[in-house]
Amino acid sequence: MRALKILSLTMILAAAMTPLSVRAEAKYALKEMTPGVSAALDARRARFDNLADLKAKGMVGEDNQGYAKALVSAPEVEVVVAEENNDRRVLYTTIAAQNNLAGEMGTIEKVFAEVQRDKAKPGEMVQEDNGQWVAK
């Protein structure tokens, strides 16, 4: 009877542990570095310092959908933001397409938004999940 209890508990524990180990290995990657993705990444990297400068001045913020947003009405700022967002959209759609997440664009965008909020420097404008804009 005691042996049966120990065996039952062991089987339950083994069954409970199995899904955890499987979930820990899951990760989404770029299965193929297409020319479009490579160009988008290179463009974003080249634009990064300029964008960071605009963010430091409060002219650009990070919204809660994973995209940059112009906080001032200035054509030169809006052009930079539009180009940045186009490149980000290329990355998001590629991740979705290459990882069978075609219906999860919203989730991908929100995760990137969270990463942008985490990486934002003090004083930079970020939009929280409730839609409110705050200075980090």
Binding site: K27, K31, L41, T107, V111
Partner: protein, 75 residues
């Protein structure tokens, strides 16, 4: 008394098995109404966040291109 109870319960069990043994359930699909299965994809948020972090680290210049989350077969 206890023995009678055991006999009674066994008898009820046997009767139940006998009653259901003759029952069969047959499901027949309608060929004119195809079955639609809506599969829900479970997204590994932590894995996705790792990917997003690796990409943003490269974009910011904090990490080299080798740190990008590219599969082994990626070019």
């Amino acid at each position: 008394m206890r023995f009678k109870r055991i006999i009674f319960l066994f008898g009820m069990l046997a009767a139940g098995l006998w009653a259901t043994s003759g029952c069969t359930v047959k499901a027949v699909g309608d060929p004119n109404r195809p079955i639609t299965i809506n599969a829900h994809v479970t997204v590994d948020i932590r894995g996705l966040k790792d990917t997003a972090t690796d990409i943003e680290d490269y974009v910011s210049g904090a990490k080299p291109k080798e740190s990008l989350p590219i599969d082994q077969g990626g070019k």
